[in-house]
Amino acid sequence: MVQYNFKKITVVPNGKDFVDIILSRTQRQTPTVVHKGYAISRLRQFYMRKVKYTQQNFHEKLSTIIEEFPRLDEIHPFYGDLLHVLYNKDHYKLALGQINTARNLISKIAKDYVKLLKYGDSLYRCKSLKVAALGRMCTVIKRIGPSLAYLEQIRQHMARLPSIDPNTRTILICGYPNVGKSSFMNKITRADVDVQPYAFTTKSLFVGHTDYKYLRYQVIDTPGILDRPFEDRNIIEMCSITALAHLRAAVLFFLDISGSCGYSIAQQAALFHSIKSLFMNKPLIIVCNKTDLQPLDGISEEDRKLVIEMKAEAMKTVIGQGGEPENEEGVLLTMSTLTEDGVIAVKNAACERLLNQRVELKKKSKKMNDCRNRFHVALPKPRDQKERPPCIPQAVLEAKAKQAEEEKKRKTEKDLEEENGGAGVYSASLKKNYILASDEWKEDVLPEILDGHNVYDFIDPDILLRLEELEREEGLRQAEEEADDFEMDGEELSPEEQEALAEIRKKKNLLIQQHRMKKSTAESRPVVPRKFDTDRKFTTKRMGRQLSTLGLDPSLAINRARSKSRGRKRERSVERGEADGGDTMDIDGNQASKKLRLRSMSRSRSRSRPPITEVLPGEGLKDSAQKSYSYIETKAPVLWETFHWKDGQALRHVQEIKL
């Protein structure tokens, strides 16, 4: 319902601000960087985007304005008229219309310029098109600047209008200025309306709320109305006239009997008669205020006559609603807001009259008829005066009585507990009332967990059967397994074979390790060749050991090695371990030397280097002469150099001459 959201209309910015907002947003939200080297389609797209974005934003904002401001034809006529009275319908509509046209113009501009931009051929041209588009849009907005300002003012005023619900229970207070309407309002509601001695203190409608019979009533205080022809009324009076005209409310017409408002009863009566057409179909109550100054009985005859006339009119409205014509009290009331005498009575009377009228109307309306057809309260009509109470069979009554008795006599657990030592000492056996196959089982404790399993998961009535089946299965399976295992055992290696395999693997690993060491050091570290054997580990003993582990007889090899190492001169053949050791006839020399050999194991030059000229077997030289010649040719100069490296040029030169 738009009428209650006058406070929620968004702020309407004025022309300049509007333009600023939109342009700055365009600048922030669209890409900003462009170079003239970009592809032309990209440039066009860039500028088209800006134009479209600006147009969209304008469109959005203008649309919100147009939609949020209420349309005077679509809201409740009370509000429509009120707004018309305050702001002039035509101006309002014109302003909104201008906004609408501005929106359409901007859309058109954008469309045209986008079309032009599609054929822009350089950065500069596209840019100027965009500038032109935005410029024109901004001019449009500038032109509607005054409308925007006007709408802003309206918005601010509308937000401050009192929130009157035209459909709920309402009480309207009207009358001449200064008769005491606002004071009455202050008395019955929490509204704090200005009360001043001068006329037209209240310049607009004020709303307050009051309660009666658990219902909430709106009380509307209006500005005073003067007795003038309709066309001459000013805006303030028109407000109250509008309220009177459109709101379905109870009307309290205030009458100042004392005349201290500055107007006589006659004038007030005249006003009453001129606006009585507005009181059609509304419960009317004439309230005579300020009775503390002038009681009702003390007024003059003419005045009294006028009052009676007014009352008669008021009565007519009562009759018009179908109320009892006898009830005169609800029509003319007296009170004084100063002494608070009769204020509540007035309020109650007004609320009562209004409520009755509304209920009557609802009853008569179609909706009620629809519902009423569906309800029917059926009450059986007694056909005679006989008593017919409910019939309860005797057995049930007896049983009930017995149960009641038992309740009193039964021993409760609490009694038991107290007998056996109280709460801390005795703990009741919760298993006492278990229903089991045998009573001995009641206090049995069953473990919940066994070997990492929940016992409750295994409980099964036919667990024994299943277990038997399982065991049978298992037996069969195990037999099969054994048969399989038996077959498999033939393939294994014997322990000696395993030993051999272990040796093989060890040896292989060793070889691999040595190879790796050799490989890694081959290029970086010079290796001492084997023939120099500084650790003296390449001995015949070692060789003998290795050969024997391979399963060979090393004696021959050792002899040969020894014979080789002792040189050609001493031709000793080591024939150890001969089978026919002492039996054969030895050659003399051999025999003698054999003895020597056996006793003293002299090693001729096994540990020193042979002289240079001695030919070692395996070198490939014929005799020592050849060897010494080769030495002089190859090694001697080198040796000379190494020992004479410090010598200067002169000495070297001498050497050359010598040779």
């Binding site: 278990y434 069953l446 409750y456 299943r466 399982l470 065991e471 093989i504 024997s548 582990t549 399963g551």
Partner: protein
């Protein structure tokens, strides 16, 4: 009081151990220790984590389908207590356990059998091919079995004979 299964590694969680996590869709995750809990928080899939039961079952390392598993089933409706039944159940649990563990170990043994056979074949081949590293061909010719050669220590007759005159 129940023994639960850890959601991640499927080990048993005794009362008083581990952490229980309840998700917003009311699914409960129980963990036996912080290792499993942290793995879960890292969103690891137990079916891909080698040491969990889920992985082992999925990849056939452990026994998956067996009639012994049917015995243990969460029952929601409690049975009325019966002493004989309770006794039988307790005894049965032990037997079922034993059978189950036997079957599980057999399963693993069978699984490893092919590997074993293969390894034996390889060993035999290696032995045949590499015997030359530990046994000279001459020794092999004399004694053709694939064993290490016997080391012969020659106690020379000549020496003993030679010693005799000295002792004299």
């Amino acid at each position: 009081m129940r023994i639960e299964k850890c959601w991640f590694c499927s080990s048993t969680v005794y009362p008083g151990h581990g952490i229980q996590f309840v998700r917003n869709d009311a699914k409960i995750f129980r963990f036996c220790r912080s290792k499993c809990h942290k793995n879960f928080k890292m969103k690891r899939n137990p079916r891909k984590v080698k040491w969990t039961k889920a992985y082992r079952r999925l990849h056939g390392k452990d026994m998956t389908q067996d009639s012994t598993f049917e015995f243990e089933r969460k029952r929601n409706r409690p049975e009325r207590y019966d002493r004989n039944l309770a006794e039988n159940t307790l005894k049965a649990i032990k037997k079922i356990d034993k059978i189950r563990s036997d079957r599980a170990s057999d399963h693993i043994k069978n699984r490893l059998k092919t590997g074993k056979v293969q390894r034996q074949k390889e060993a035999r081949k290696q032995l045949e091919q590499g015997i030359h590293l530990v046994k000279a061909p001459l020794a092999l010719a004399q004694d053709s079995s694939l064993h290490l050669p016997k080391i012969k220590v020659n106690v020379s007759q000549a020496q003993t004979e030679g010693n005799q005159p000295m002792e004299e």
